[in-house]
């Protein structure tokens, strides 16, 4: 950037036109519907904030998905233009140049992790579901809650603009290892740092709020061990966020200072880049990796623990059976969270970190497989001798269990240090993270959308479209990601624009084409979801039933949708644990937490 003159700042006009258009639309809306802003934008109601997170994350998901298509397009048809990329990003090569390839995978990961998965799980469903499940009228700090959403917007703007500044975006990988991320030309990397910094701030605001809400605002009868697993998961996740995110914030700040203000936290001795003058710092390159993974490994669990909780809720509901081993489920989540803080080094086995440390991290990593295994077996046991009810969230929960097994088992290869030597930085890793983050987490999110949509909007989503989406996604997903295990262990490198440069990788082109075609099918299925989501929001079949899925947890005790700011028209009191399905003594096959025991008076209205 310091190489550029002021006149070089040649931002395309597109984003400015977008901003101008938005301003005009906003002014028009203000005139036409004066209450619009107070209700939909500046709302401090946790339900509305959850929906805000949901919608913005789904829209960013389309961006992240498009970038994924760009990446895979280059692997299948190297050197050809990705359709539309020339027009969207203003890249004359249409994404074919290596630097644009680097930007595509960097931004795909950054967008998907920071703007889609984390906000979807914690921001959207955490916000919407947790207070309802606790029987609370709102979060503990409504203003902080709104702030945590609106702090996402600077991040959104920085990241979106990073495509349109000199350098065309951040291209040092989502891990942004210095010195590459420090010596990267252009402003994309700087904007990336700023964006991540704001996401971190937003996460911390959210975490404080969830922890307080869960500790202090549980309704009468909801003890800690009567909380549904979604709330438990968000509680544990929030502790992770609160402990880990400040480290990321500090690391990103250091990186920013190294880039812009000439500090040398990560500048090693005797660095010469591009024949420029020698730069000698006293920093350590590997320090960034320690700081980054100290956040980002727990972040992997931030990405999956809430999904586990939501799947537990949905699976119990789908199977009409109490979750198998409720307390072990809670303890194993806590175990995963605790161990999650001492395994970050397994991302760094080949990084030049002391190999003796590698052994320590290897053992810790092997141990973290244990609570995960316990959870898997408990889900399977929940399915055993159940009476599964066919709903869309049933499919999602079942798919989650199936793919979590694959993602979990493939992790053992990576934890085994000698095997990791071969598969580190290859597509085997890409396969593993996608089985965990897409196969598991995103399927849980899909399920959650279908499951809580009636409560959110008072309408059902279209069932045939939903089944199509789930089934096509499941099948296309396997073809997109399973072959990656194989090509990866054969040596196909990740983050490589043209792997076929290497003679030993040339044979993998057809498999890559297969994977890309499967991805296109996968993407088409997501369009079905998007259409279904937005169409059903306005025109779906109405749902007036408080408890359309015959579920047992407290959120189904509210009117559908919960009206106004404040959730419950009946005083929320919990009389039993969260998963009392199939009680042989009960009249129906589900006994909600809020159903009064026999002989007790009926529920009271809040407004007496």
């Amino acid at each position: 950037m310091h190489l550029m003159e002021a006149t070089d700042f040649n931002v395309t006009t597109t984003p400015w036109l977008v901003v101008l258009g938005l301003a005009i639309v906003m002014a028009a809306v203000r005139l036409a519907a004066p209450k619009f802003y107070s209700h939909y934008i500046w709302s401090q109601d946790h339900k509305m904030i959850g929906k805000q997170f949901l919608v913005s994350s789904l829209l960013w998901g389309l961006v992240g998905g498009a970038l994924a298509i760009g990446v895979r397009w280059q692997l299948a048809w190297p050197g050809t233009k990705v359709p539309g990329f020339e027009q969207i990003f203003g890249w004359a090569d249409g994404g074919a140049a290596p630097e644009h390839y680097n930007i595509m995978f960097t931004m795909h990961a950054s967008v998907m992790i920071f703007f889609v998965i984390i906000p979807l799980l914690v921001g959207a469903f955490g916000n919407f579901v947790v207070p309802l499940q606790l029987g609370a009228q709102d979060m503990a700090f409504p203003f902080l809650n709104a702030l945590s959403y609106w702090l996402m917007w600077p991040a959104f703007i920085f990241m979106a603009f990073s495509f349109y500044v000199p350098g065309d975006g951040a291209g040092a990988g989502w891990t942004s290892y210095p010195p590459l991320s420090e010596t990267m030309l252009g402003d994309g990397q700087t904007l990336w740092c700023m964006g991540v910094w704001f996401v971190g701030w937003s996460s911390i605001c959210g975490a404080v709020n969830y922890i307080t809400t869960i500790v202090k605002m549980r309704a009468k009868g909801i003890t800690f061990f009567r909380m549904p697993l979604t709330s438990w998961a968000i509680f544990i996740t929030s502790i992770l966020v609160l402990c880990a995110t400040p480290v990321l914030g500090s690391a990103v700040t250091m990186l920013l200072m190294d880039r812009e203000f000439g500090s040398s936290f990560f500048v090693p001795a005797a660095r010469v880049v591009s024949d420029a003058g020698q730069v000698t710092g006293t920093g350590q390159v590997i320090l960034w990796q320690h700081l980054f993974w100290f956040y980002s490994h727990p972040a992997v669990y931030i990405l999956v623990l809430p999904a586990m909780g939501m799947v537990s809720d949905m699976l119990a509901n789908a199977c009409r059976k109490p979750i198998f081993g409720y307390r072990p489920m809670v303890y194993s989540m806590a175990g995963i969270a605790f161990l999650g803080f001492v395994v970050w080094g397994h991302h760094m086995f080949q990084s030049g970190m002391n190999p003796a440390l590698g052994r320590t991290f290897m053992i810790a990593t092997m141990m973290i497989a244990l609570p995960s295994a316990v959870k898997t077996f408990n889900w399977l046991a929940t399915m055993y001798r159940s009476q599964m009810k066919l709903e869309v969230h049933t499919l999602a929960a079942l798919a989650f269990v199936c793919m979590w097994i694959i993602g979990g088992l493939s992790g053992i290869f990576m934890a085994a240090t000698p095997v990791d030597i071969q598969i580190h930085d290859t597509y085997a890793i890409v396969a593993h993270i996608h089985y965990v983050v897409f196969g598991s987490t995103l399927f849980a999110v899909f399920g959650s959308i279908y499951y809580w949509f009636p409560k959110m909007f008072g309408r059902f989503m279209n069932k045939p479209l939903a089944y199509t989406h789930m089934i096509v996604t499941f099948i296309a997903f396997q073809f997109t990601f399973f072959p990656m295990h194989v090509v990866g262990s054969r040596g196909m490198l990740r983050r490589t624009a043209d792997p076929y440069y290497y003679g030993n990788l040339q044979g993998m082109l057809p498999v890559n084409q297969l994977m890309t075609i499967a991805l296109l099918v996968l993407a088409a299925a997501q369009v079905v979801l998007a259409i279904n989501f937005f169409w059903s929001m306005f025109a779906g079949k109405r749902c007036t039933d408080r408890n359309p899925w015959n579920a047992t947890t407290m959120e189904w005790n509210t009117p559908t949708p919960p009206v106004g700011h404040g959730n419950f028209d009946l005083i929320p009191v919990a009389h039993r644990g969260p998963y009392e399905y199939a009680d042989p003594n009960a009249k129906e096959d589900f006994t909600p937490q809020f159903a009064p025991p026999a002989g007790e008076p009926a529920r009271k209205s809040v407004h007496v």
Binding site: A270, I286, L370, Q387, G503
Partner: protein, 386 residues
Amino acid sequence: MTQSIATPTSRPVLLVLALGLVIALCFGMRAAFEKPATELKTALGADKSVGSVIEMLDGRRLPGTGNILIEEELVAIQRVTKEGSPVNSGILLLDNPSRFKVLERGAAGTTVAAHGVGAQVKEPGTLFFPENFASFGDAVDELFYLILWITGIAFILTEAFWLFCIFSFWQKPGMRSDFSHGNHKLELIWTIIPAAILVLIALLQAGMWREMKMEIPPEGSKDVIEVQTAAQQFQWNFRLAGTDGKFGTVDDVPTVGEMHVPVGQKVRMTQRSIDVIHSFFLPNFRVKQDVVPGLAIPVWFDTSRAGRFPIMCAELCGLGHTKMGATLVVHEADEFKTWLAAKSEEWKGENEAQDRPDWSGGTAKIWWWWDSNPLTTKYQGENTAR
């Protein structure tokens, strides 16, 4: 609508469909892997395997070698890029005139396959790891296949159970699920068994890891060939000590994009990077180590077969990362001796003619950088191994 997709009549159909999917996936992958490389090249198109511009620039530089970009040129190119001239892909791989001659020297007398490096390596018939030629590699492969067996069995058992549940437990009218909240005995069993297996895997690999990463032959040990590796954007530089056995003297043999070692000998490498993090990956020898600026990291392996093998950069290092390959050339022992003597003599003559007695490597700046910037911090891993 009925609550079950798996009625007694549809059950076999669904099972066959699921199995068919899996089988189709397996066969498709096999067929794809068996497609001969020549056919693939045709499929790729002669020059279409990379962005056309990078290919264009390729013509101007030697294959298998990287290029260095200069800031002024870079800015110039960016200007051009914005104005949408023919070089509009904005590939910033420029030839550095001062370096270009050296590259030519370094690669002289050797030919790197024009399209990719290491193309000579025959594809083995296995679906997983490429063929191994290092002595510690067999143990790694055994561990890999052991884990594959264990996880494979776990995978089949759990997924079979999953399928069984899906096909068996759909809602029937008037029926209720088991009212069970868990079973401590069962849970203990499925905690202890995986724990035992995981501890077993952990114990098995500890020694292997130590051998590969920590028991590095010390500098100057006998029967060990030492190679210095200097990584830079976007090429691999290697240096052998020459006939006098010492580094930093006039008869050192520097190479670019090719690493020469004799067969049957231990190789000790010292790796440094001048700019960003690179990663030295030798898939056929089960070697991967990040090359970190500011650290001199030792790596070792041994060779059991003469031939040419790919060296890859496994860590994203910038725009030219995708082309940062090199070739490991394993010579027969005698051939290597002759080659080294001849090269050493050649470089000695060159250096002495140009009156540069104190550092080697001809005009290659990277070795000047290496010798004039000794690292004061020792790599910790090596210390703990002793």
